[in-house]
């Protein structure tokens, strides 16, 4: 789900270059609403969340104003033009390319935001300022004299409420008035003094009372109350995902597939119930009927795994995640868990890649860009790839082991948890490089807007469908070809010593591990058809190995992009060593010699 997940453009987007075309860039401190402004301006869909570092790459869109056409770029947020992490580097890089800059400010946090504004204006780029979150500022009793601010900075200033779209039209109308400010390049001290003076002149704050929101913020961040609340919220989140996921399966997907079954059976009869084409499309009939899990045909298992089993959990997970993101709870969780993550060589922000990674490892790996050092990024990305199953895998783990009881599922997760902790502790010890401490702005709690929450969930679900479904169907296709060619028997023979003596698994599992490279969930699905050959403990080992030993194709590619070849090779070494060790240990502990 690489770029598609982060940003997607409307279909009717005008293409082609235009002589009038100019590049416009949105930029400003983190978490001020740039991405919301961007999607208001261009109609493009982008992921927005209530924490700093949501946008890690740039996203481009277009808008027509009069006869001119603007290319608009949404960049990650930054605190200053001297970047401290990879996504801030992207932001600074984008600024260089822009013809005009739209500086989006958080009106409730003007003073902090003005420093970067000052820096940008000094570069001499024509700019225009959006005073975003205007609604919240008014609510908090913060009044900003817009004309005076315009005078002080020398560029147009427009109040906006990106969430509702207020002021966006005014902003567009002012694009042509973007000007170069008169502010001269200067040193930090002078900037601060100037910012101080501007604030004193333009901003009046009416005293605000201690609100319910403040109390909630305090209670959830103080460890005494915050830690129990966090544990409660995490359990609630998991429970919700299961509840919604299972509900969707039982009441929506399974009935749909039952409606679909007669059609597949008709097709099966038409094809004569056997033969190459039948095997490819329908797969093998089990007791004379289609088994959506075990038949392994493109139109049976190839559709049922992604839609019937995984999709419901994906929807459920992203819905719950969106709630956590949009309320602003994640940075609090980062703070409360910082201690643990720091010992693993990261800091509290490590929880963001972890959470995103449970949906899909790809955006999880991308989110590591918000960590400051190479060491932290390597550890976070490697841990994800080795020990964090994505939602597709999790759904399949439930699918394979669910019938044997929750204890076996628990065994898989507790093993993965120990692997996560162990690799983190070891890598933190042996890797050179710094692990800086946490440094994280905590946004106020915001009430999630149903429409945005649903939109975001839908975007991510679409991302899953676009990326995963073709792989899944291709995977089933591929399996059938290899199967027909007798390749699997060969593989089974080649790997049987390793499988049997080291992992205590039957040789037929070897091909499954190979298929895992294409799609892990599909491989776990294949295990189901081998279920009768294996004891529950063997299944636990096989499922855990599948999760650990190699990332899926998409994750593999993003790891290469983010870590480089050397990093990728190192990550894979960690992976093999850990998978082999853990596999052997599990065999000893769970099955005996």
């Amino acid at each position: 789900m690489s770029r598609g997940e982060q940003c997607s453009l409307p279909k009717d987007m005008p293409e082609g270059l235009d002589p009038e075309q100019r590049t416009e860039e949105l930029m400003k401190a983190v978490n001020v609403g740039k991405s919301v402004v961007f999607s208001r301006l261009t109609g493009a869909k982008v992921i927005t969340s209530n924490y700093a570092g949501t946008t890690v790459d740039f996203c481009q869109g277009h808008i027509r104003v009069g006869k001119g056409k603007f290319d608009i770029i949404d960049a990650p947020g930054t605190y200053s033009l001297q970047p401290t992490n990879k996504s801030e580097e992207v932001a600074v890089e984008m600024l260089k390319q822009a013809d005009i800059v739209v500086i989006v400010l958080d009106s409730t946090n003007l003073e902090r935001n003005l420093f970067l504004t000052h820096e940008i204006l000094e570069t001499g780029k024509p700019a225009i300022i959006a005073l975003n979150m205007w609604d919240e500022a008014q609510h908090l009793g913060i009044d900003i004299d817009q004309d005076m601010l315009e005078g002080a900075l020398g560029v147009p200033v427009v109040p906006t409420v990106a969430l509702s779209g207020e002021g966006i039209k005014d902003l567009v109308d002012k694009f042509d008035d973007a000007r170069t400010s008169e502010l001269e390049p200067t040193i930090d001290e002078a900037r601060w003094i100037n910012v101080g003076t501007i604030i004193k002149n333009v901003q009046t704050v009416t005293h605000k009372h201690h609100t319910m929101r403040d109390r909630l913020e305090d209670v959830t961040i103080r460890p005494l109350t915050g830690i129990p609340i966090a544990i409660g919220i995490i359990f609630l989140a998991f429970w919700l995902v299961r509840f919604i996921g299972e509900g969707l399966i039982t009441f929506v997907m399974d009935p749909l597939f039952e409606l679909y079954r007669p059609a597949v059976m008709d097709l099966s009869n038409m094809l004569g119930g056997s033969g190459w084409l039948h095997d490819m499309l329908i797969g093998s009939l089990i007791n004379g009927d289609v088994d959506f899990l075990e038949s392994l045909g493109v139109l049976t298992t190839g559709l049922y795994v992604p839609f019937g089993m995984v999709l419901p959990y994906i929807v459920a997970f992203y819905l719950v995640l969106a709630l956590m993101e949009d309320t602003g709870y994640l940075p609090r969780l980062s703070t409360l868990s910082d201690n643990i993550f720091h010992r693993l060589g990261m800091h509290g922000y490590g929880i963001v890649p972890l959470m995103l990674g449970m949906g899909c490892n790809v955006p999880g790996v991308l989110a590591t860009r918000n960590l400051e050092t190479q060491k932290q990024r390597f550890i976070a990305a490697t841990l994800l790839a080795v020990s964090v199953p994505c939602m597709a895998q999790i759904a399949m783990i439930f699918g394979v082991l669910g019938s044997h009881g929750p204890f076996y599922i628990f065994l898989v997760f507790i093993t993965l948890f120990f692997v996560y902790i162990t690799i983190g502790l070891i890598l933190n010890r042996i890797m050179k490089g710094e692990s800086p401490e946490i440094f994280l702005e905590i946004p106020p709690y915001r009430r999630p807007v149903l429409r945005t929450t649903l939109k975001k969930t839908w975007m991510r679900v679409q991302g899953f469908l676009k990326e995963a479904v073709p792989w899944m169907i291709f995977g089933v296709f591929f399996i059938n070809i290899l199967y027909t060619l007798g390749f699997f028997d060969l593989l089974g023979q080649a790997f049987s010593p390793l499988m049997e003596s080291w992992l205590g698994l039957p040789a037929v599992v070897a091909p499954v591990l190979i298929i895992g490279f294409l799609r892990k969930d599909l491989a776990v699905g294949m295990l189901l058809s081998l279920g009768t050959l294996m004891s529950p403990m063997q299944l636990v080992i096989a499922v855990t190995m599948l999760t650990m030993y190699f990332p899926c194709m998409a994750t593999f590619i993003v790891l290469f992009k983010e870590l480089g070849l050397k990093g990728l090779v190192q990550a894979i070494m960690v992976m093999f060593i850990m998978a082999a060790t853990v596999g052997g240990l599990m065999r000893l502990i769970l099955i005996g010699v």
Partner: protein
């Protein structure tokens, strides 16, 4: 009395007097709004040497304990 943020108690507040450390460190703090002359409230400290949460200009920020030891406050 001047003391570091790290030894302030939950709910205590004061004015930031100085920060110790490299220029980059100080700049990072300042750009996010934590700088000399600002009133700071210690919202809470996490257990076992975990991060310190402070409030400046109505906005909370989490910083590591090591950083907190290098920020001096007049309470």
């Amino acid at each position: 009395m001047e003391k570091t943020l790290a030894i302030m108690k939950q709910g205590e507040s004061g004015i930031i007097t100085r920060m110790e450390g490299g220029e980059e460190f100080k700049r990072k703090l300042r750009t996010i709004g934590i700088r000399e002359g600002k009133r700071v409230l210690l919202v809470t400290k996490q257990y076992f040497g975990g991060p310190v949460v402070l409030k400046v200009d109505g906005r909370d920020t989490s910083i590591g304990r090591g950083m907190a030891r290098r920020i001096f406050v007049d309470v």
